[in-house]
Symmetry: C2
Subunit: 359 residues, 2 copies
């Protein structure tokens, strides 16, 4: 097991990454300062089947009395209606300020349960227990929580740091192949924006990672979270440095939104977005053609798409690009690479961005 801390002043908290540590969830929560007592374990219908019983047992034996709240699997659960149902369940379970939430699942569960915890009685403790690759290497860390609005993803949300993050890499074993691979997009992103040596290591170890070797997964998940922790520590509220984490996300979000949520998984859209950003990095950031090609090749080897779909410049795509919430006036604050491992943000006009998108 690897353990380290996310340094955020009073909101600092530990991160644990290892195989099989789901069974230590209760003791980890107590070590993080949570008092045994009432708790709610929020998960989704898929994850429940595999891991809810073990999680319940692990926190039960540490003195927590958990209520189980299961939401339907899928992005549609990040809604005001499902959020309301969670509040109702928490009131029924007499969850009070001293109680804790455990979020067991992927990004949807983490965001939704995180926002419920952020807003119930103005904020109660939460432990994030990510079980997907995307959640383990990215969304569980940083305190971003929220739900979707009919008009935009994650429009409603809050920053709410967890009291601990417990990433059991063995839970990745039950993940469908496509969902496992989408998480690799975020892993490659950390290398691209801040760690050239990590790109070389991924080029070398991708085979072992793809077979979900626990030791290789522990390495790659822990390194990803350490990188994210370093950025989040220096910029909790995304006012500056943290923006580089959006590498690949501006075009990725627009693609996700315009293709209809669900056509692309988030990581797949980000993979394509990173390939577009690599081209723009050559043009506007000084990234060498060689490094750009290495990055795109690695994304492809990870089983992820790197090409924009044909006829991508639909009115919906263009509208989504303009609606991107990182936009500032006419230009978009775009993350580009100067070289592998070094990212900057630069205002790019829509025309400049579109120059890298064929049709």
């Amino acid at each position: 097991m690897q353990t380290f801390r996310v340094e955020l002043g009073p909101a600092s908290h530990p991160v644990h990454v290892g195989a099989g540590i789901l069974d230590d969830l209760g003791s980890i929560a107590r070590d993080a300062g949570l008092k045994p007592g009432r708790a709610v374990l929020i998960t989704d219908s898929n994850v429940e089947r595999h891991y809810a019983a073990r999680a319940i047992e692990a926190i039960g034996k540490a003195g927590f009395a958990p209520t189980l709240a299961v939401v339907p699997a899928g992005e549609a659960s990040k809604s005001a209606a499902v959020l309301e149902s969670l509040y109702d369940r928490m009131v029924e379970a007499e969850i009070d300020r001293s109680a804790a939430v455990f979020a067991l699942g992927g990004g949807v569960v983490g965001d939704l349960a995180g926002f419920a915890a952020a807003t119930y009685l103005r904020g109660i403790a939460i432990v994030q227990v990510p079980t997907t690759m995307v959640a383990q290497v990215d969304s569980s860390l940083g305190g971003k929580t929220g739900i979707n609005h009919a008009r935009a993803k994650n429009l409603i949300g809050a920053f709410h740091q967890p009291r601990a993050i417990v990433a059991d890499v063995a839970t990745l074993g039950t993940l469908p192949e496509r969902e496992f691979r989408e998480g690799l997009a975020e892993v490659i992103k950390y290398g691209a924006i801040m760690d050239a040596a990590m790109i070389a290591a991924l080029e070398r170890d991708l085979g072992k990672i793809a077979t979900r070797d626990n030791a290789a997964l522990e390495q790659v998940v822990a390194l990803s979270l350490r990188h994210k922790a370093a950025i989040v520590s220096s910029d909790e509220r995304e006012s500056g440095l943290r923006k580089i984490l959006n590498f690949g996300h501006t075009v990725g979000h627009a693609l996700e939104a315009s293709a209809g949520y669900g056509s692309y998984l988030h990581g797949e859209a980000v993979a394509i977005g990173m390939a577009v950003a690599a081209a723009l990095s050559e043009r506007y950031g000084g990234l060498s053609a060689d490094e750009s090609a290495r990055l795109v090749r690695l994304i492809g080897r990870a089983g992820l798409p790197v090409e924009m779909p044909p006829n991508a410049r639909t009115p919906a795509f263009l509208a989504a690009l303009r609606l991107d919430k990182k936009r500032a006036r006419e230009a978009v604050e775009f993350v580009i690479l100067e070289q592998l491992g070094r990212a900057i943000t630069k205002p790019l006009e829509f025309g400049q961005i579109l120059s890298a998108i064929a049709s």
Copy 2:
């Protein structure tokens, strides 16, 4: 005009109290660091009539381009449905992260608009512009925001500090008498829990205050907010000291909830709660009978009720008392006085609390 700062580290912000300063709202917002641009002015149907046009003009001439969002007056607007309608309005107005919310109104508007600002794009800037006595002396300061749940008031919420508070005491001139007087309950509370000299000043100046003399109002509002700021600065998240601000509120909340919201105004219920707390303070805190009587007399002179209604111990009242969110296990953390100007919290059992409530 009196100006001072609420010290909260990076969330520190100025407070302005004066007569006629609504017309300076825009320049005050800019001085507080807000960038001119898109903004949304949230108010209710009552306040709109009196002050929306002036507020719009004041922020417009400072370079803000405000959209007006009017919610129905009354506690019922602190609902998930009205909150959703605000989100919709903000999306329509293309409110982005750099935009600002202005909350013009009483406690309902401040709590609702504050929660909308806290959760829109994970938090955008808000300026609180309280126009009722309760909001000016209490609810606008401290960052508490939220809406009600069917089962409990303020169950859903977040801490979100405003970028500035602008209390124009001249706006109190249009307040119905009963709503003006309820605010005096919170004023008296500050004296009771932390400033014996303020009690003496109120005993002396109550006449001028009651005629809504601007100079007297500026004094009493500014002093109240300074006291609240001192407490909030030392305990932003209500983990300790801030609890003494709940003086009168445990019984007050239970009375409000069980009598049906609307039977008592919040300040009226708190007034009765303070009278009950005074009796309990004699019994369990060492408050002298003389000081207890002075406090109850002052509350009465302010035109506020001091007696529990007959047959108060209804099942609904008892249930509400147990559901009070400050409860811890069997006993309630109750705020009592050792003397005028000095409060402590003490766990009291339900039986002890009920001993001060006739039937």
